[in-house]
């Protein structure tokens, strides 16, 4: 019988040492990945920065972004940081979303978001963004829905990921069949750029379901 021992001629002691080295490498790699900032692929950052400017990036520190943007961020426990910035409608919100394990603590300038979200009420924002993101990913989006705290209120989710799932973009907008609207005709549209694989509610920071909102609202399909 031909065995590894015959092939490499390693002794039991040598094999144990090799196993220990391999375990160290694996644990160090996992530790690094866990502790290091998650950055999104260039394609994702480009789309985000088209609307936020180059100061904002997934994985950059809050200190860097706040300094570059010239706008202070407010810490929101359990979520991350938020800033109000202007757009053509005069109303836009920028959120730096912290990864799990980082968002329950105290504000820290060194925090690095693993997702960045912008919200706007600009007319036609969703269509503009959907065309842009579809062209960038050359792929139709996957659909889902966020169930909001107010009963009968949902937000539609469409998301795209890079082929190896290093990051992606999710677009959200108010579901048209919501029981109540804040203002007729006004739609809150969100663009969320994230690092890593899309992970449902964890990525969206919400009560996510991989079903169309119409299904959750009991209207169809």
């Amino acid at each position: 019988m031909f065995t590894a021992h015959d092939l490499f001629g390693f002794s039991t002691r040598t094999r144990a040492a090799l196993a220990l080295v391999m375990l160290s490498v694996v644990s160090a790699t996992l530790g690094y990945l866990w502790a290091s900032p998650a950055t999104a692929p260039a394609r994702v950052q480009r789309i985000l920065q088209k609307y936020t400017g180059p100061a904002i990036a997934v994985g950059a520190s809050v200190r860097e972004m706040s300094t570059s943007l010239g706008t202070p961020f407010e810490f929101v426990p359990h979520l991350g940081y938020v800033a109000h910035v202007g757009d053509s409608t005069g109303v836009s919100e920028l959120r730096l979303l912290l990864p799990r394990g980082k968002r329950a603590g105290r504000p820290n300038d060194a925090d690095r978001p693993d997702a960045v979200e912008i919200l706007t009420t600009s007319d036609g924002a969703f269509n503009t963004l959907a065309v842009e993101v579809s062209a960038a990913f050359r792929d139709p989006p996957r659909e889902g829905c966020l169930t909001m705290s107010q009963p009968g209120t949902y937000r539609e989710v469409r998301y795209w990921q890079t082929p190896l799932h290093f990051g992606g973009i999710a677009l959200t907008n108010d579901y048209g069949g919501n029981g109540s609207v804040v203002r007729p005709g006004m739609v809150v549209t969100g663009l969320l750029a994230f690092a890593g694989r899309f992970n449902g509610g964890e990525t969206m920071r919400g009560n996510y379901s991989p079903q169309p909102c119409a299904v959750l609202a009991g209207l169809g399909q």
């Binding site: 220990l20 644990s27 996992l30 929101v76 426990p77 359990h78 937000r155 203002r183 006004m186």
Partner: protein, 208 residues
């Protein structure tokens, strides 16, 4: 603790950190949800504030059927066969030539105007804006259809317009443009004081 034990502990900690925590996720969802609601409310308020304000009818807008009481001093004025009482700051602006054509005009200190003329005009005309009320009453021995309107665009323009009719006679039209709702009430009261001499009606007989 041995080196191996430390590594195992580190791996366990990493694994725990990677395990979804429903409570933490629920807190994040609540925070995100609340922020979105606040953002939507704020955006709605801003949109409402930025909206061009359509001419509105204040609560104290007079009704065309009213005979409003006002606190300003009125003066009785005559212009040919017409007489009416107007607020004391109104002065006639007719030239003799205009008056000879049966057009009588007065101008107030705030640039409110009153015109009385013979005209075949119909109801609900003479302004661009929204009719706020209308009424048909008897004034100066004639059937008078009164329209109150808000023609405000850039400058406040509250309209009092009445068509005074007698059978087979050319109607008289009273048209007042007020710069305020209060002034509109004053012009409505002035309209009720309008008197037209019988001779003027006779001159306006429509020949058949």
């Amino acid at each position: 603790m041995s080196a191996m034990g430390g590594r195992v502990l580190a791996l366990l900690l990493i694994a725990q950190a990677c395990t979804p925590n429903p409570q933490e996720l629920a807190r994040a969802a609540r925070a995100s949800d609340s922020l979105t609601i606040v953002f939507a409310d704020s955006a709605a308020r801003r949109a409402l504030a930025a909206e061009p304000r359509a001419p509105t009818v204040p609560e104290h807008t007079p009704h065309a059927c009213d005979e409003p009481a006002t606190s300003v001093a009125f003066l009785a004025l005559w212009s040919g066969a017409l007489s009416l009482t107007l607020p004391a700051d109104f002065t006639p602006i007719d030239t003799a030539r205009v008056a000879s054509h049966g057009i009588h005009r007065w101008l107030g200190a705030d640039k409110s105007t009153v015109v009385v003329r013979r005209d075949g005009a119909t109801y609900h005309s003479g302004w661009t804006g929204s009719l706020t009320s209308e009424c048909t009453v008897d004034i100066a021995g004639a059937r008078a259809h009164i329209d109150l309107a808000d023609a405000t665009v850039d400058v406040p323009d509250y309209v009092v317009r009445a068509v005074l009719e007698r059978p087979r006679m050319l109607p008289f039209v009273f048209e007042g443009h007020a710069r305020s709702v209060r002034r509109q009430a004053e012009l409505l009261r002035a309209l009720r004081s309008l008197s037209i001499a019988e001779s003027a009606w006779i001159r306006s007989v429509v020949l058949e």
